[in-house]
């Protein structure tokens, strides 16, 4: 990395730090929160991406209000446990997740971690563009224009010039994920039933826990916990320049993100449960078909908001996932990798950022490619690649040389190991239902 790039990067970060220091010294509590939130909200709302919203739509349409509402709350609580570790890792080490893995585990294990990340990132990015195309299609926007718009949104990083500007623009777009809340209200659900399901986890799926239910269950876990989230948030925390004093705010940021994302996910399930109530077979629906099918129950405004929500979910996730790929690439190749660095000074970072998005967009434009069929399976694959990622995360969180007094204690380790075991066990049960026909829980 050239000295000049480092200087420009440092000057931008120092400006941000100055504002934080001023807010802290003048005890401006709300301003401090405003300055320090970002990576956590972005990662959680970013994970409410197009395939995730489609998974929640399939959940609501096929199982209605019941077991899956509190289950989604549980999965976001697990996501919080994993992401909180990346806040500490980023604030303590001031470097990215890929960099730490390569330094502490060596190239052999680092390459495995990177292959998991790149494989799931590329697959997920393709499904983000499926969502973008489907959402835009509802408004009559042609495929090619939608893909160009998506790549254009990702390319905004080029003109943002600073991490702070990029983060705020993406954050505003990410908050529109909450459009699913008014759609849920417009579907006039029985709120008593919604409350009761959160308290009792009932009713259970009428189909039982066979292969089909477990695919949806895994897809919902994959809709909240995926490898790219770890790489993105640690990279963003380090790019934002959070320090040891900011860890509490980083946790708050992640918690706010988890709450907002749970609201978006639960609202999507509630909205699409209208299809379950009216016995509509939605097992083969794509995003646009969900929006159209909902029209009789939520009106034209509701279905337009639903389609917009899918479009937005794809745009935000395409941005954050491309960024996580670019961070990881820069960390591994030791090239400039910061949104605080201008494009001229960090060409490979921005090139990877745009290239991965453009490649995924191009796949969507291939004629006759059966994309809709694989959208839910992408979430399943994402969750199945998660156990090794949690393994690296927990080992790093207990690495005294890196973490010092910020290493995980007994409680945090218990929670972290529980998340890892839960995700692994869910995968094993899924495998049993596939390998042994008729296997049922």
């Amino acid at each position: 990395m050239s000295t000049r790039v480092v200087k420009e990067e440092r000057a931008s970060r120092a400006q941000d730090r100055l504002q934080v220091l001023q807010a802290r010294s003048h005890r401006q509590r709300w301003r401090l929160i405003w300055l320090l939130v970002g990576p956590g909200i972005l990662v959680m709302l970013g994970e409410n991406d197009a395939p995730s919203m489609l998974s929640y739509s399939a959940t609501g349409a096929q199982f209605g209000i019941g077991f899956f509402l509190p289950f989604v709350l549980l999965t976001f609580a697990m996501a919080f446990v994993a992401q909180e570790i990346t806040v500490r890792l980023g604030a303590v080490s001031k470097t990215g997740h890929a960099d730490l893995i390569y330094r502490r585990f060596g190239r052999f294990w680092g390459n495995f971690a990177m292959s998991d990340l790149l494989f799931t990132n590329l697959l997920t990015l393709v499904t983000e563009f499926v969502g973008i195309v489907a959402g835009a299609g509802f408004f009559g926007i042609p495929k090619s224009i939608a893909v160009l718009g998506g790549v254009g949104m990702v390319s905004l990083a080029l003109v943002a010039g600073r991490y702070w500007v990029w983060e705020r623009v993406t954050l505003i777009l990410a908050l529109t994920n909450l459009v699913f809340v008014p759609v849920a209200i417009l579907s006039h659900p029985l709120w008593g039933q919604v409350t009761s399901s959160f308290l009792t986890w009932h009713p259970f799926p009428v189909q039982g826990f066979g292969s089909h239910t477990l695919v949806i269950l895994l897809a919902d876990i994959g809709a909240t916990i995926t490898p790219w989230m770890l790489f993105f948030q640690q990279g963003a925390v380090s790019d934002k320049g959070l320090t040891l004093k900011d860890v509490a705010h980083g946790r708050l940021d992640t918690a706010i993100g988890a709450v907002l994302a749970t609201m978006g996910a639960a609202a999507c399930i509630v909205a699409t449960s209208a299809l379950f109530t009216h016995h509509m077979n939605a097992s083969q629906f794509n995003a646009a078909e969900f929006a159209q099918a909902l029209t009789p129950y939520v009106g034209h405004l509701g279905s337009a908001l639903f389609a917009f929500g899918i479009l937005e979910a794809g745009l935000v996730a395409a941005t954050t996932i491309s960024t996580s790929s670019a961070y990881a690439f820069g960390e591994v190749t030791r090239r400039a990798h910061s949104l605080n660095a201008p494009a001229k000074k960090a060409p490979s970072f921005y090139l990877v950022l745009i290239l991965v998005a453009a490649s995924a967009g191009a796949v969507v434009l291939l004629p006759g490619f059966p994309l809709e069929a694989v959208v839910i399976m992408v979430n399943v694959i994402a969750v199945l690649t998660m156990p090794p990622a949690i393994g690296f995360l927990l080992i790093l969180a207990n690495d005294g040389e890196v973490m010092g007094r910020f290493r995980s204690g007994r409680w945090l380790n218990t929670l972290g190991i529980s998340v890892g075991m839960f995700v692994s066990l869910a995968g094993i049960i899924y495998a049993l239902t596939v390998i042994i026909p008729g296997f049922h829980l």
Binding site: R10, A11, R13, A14, R17, L18, L21, Q22, R24, S25, V92, S93, K94, T95, D99, L100, R103, R104, F105, G106, W109, F112, D116, S211, V215, G241, T243, L244, V374, M377, V380, I381, L384, T385, P387, P388, G391, I395, D399, G400, E401, V402, M403, G404, R405, S424, G427, Y430, A431, V434, I435
Partner: protein, 75 residues
């Protein structure tokens, strides 16, 4: 572990030169970077290496399971 007690005040930054206040604002970052640069490989116990191999095989097995599941659904 790096020294986490880097003391920086907003007021002192306002009175120093451009380069100096950047250095002051990012003192903790510089220390962390130096510390990370010095990090070596983590010594992995045999059981930890075994666990990491197990998780790697888990992923490979699961990818095969997904392929079987997709094949079952298509046919």
């Amino acid at each position: 572990m790096m020294n986490s007690d880097v003391k920086v005040s907003a007021d002192s930054i306002g009175t120093t030169s451009h380069d100096a206040w950047i250095e002051q604002a990012l003192a903790e970052h510089r220390q962390s970077q130096l510390h990370v640069e010095q990090l070596g490989r983590l010594p992995l116990s045999l059981s930890l290496k075994g666990l990491m191999w197990l998780l790697r095989l888990y992923v490979l097995f699961m990818i095969a399971v997904v392929a079987v599941n997709v094949f079952q659904q298509v046919h």
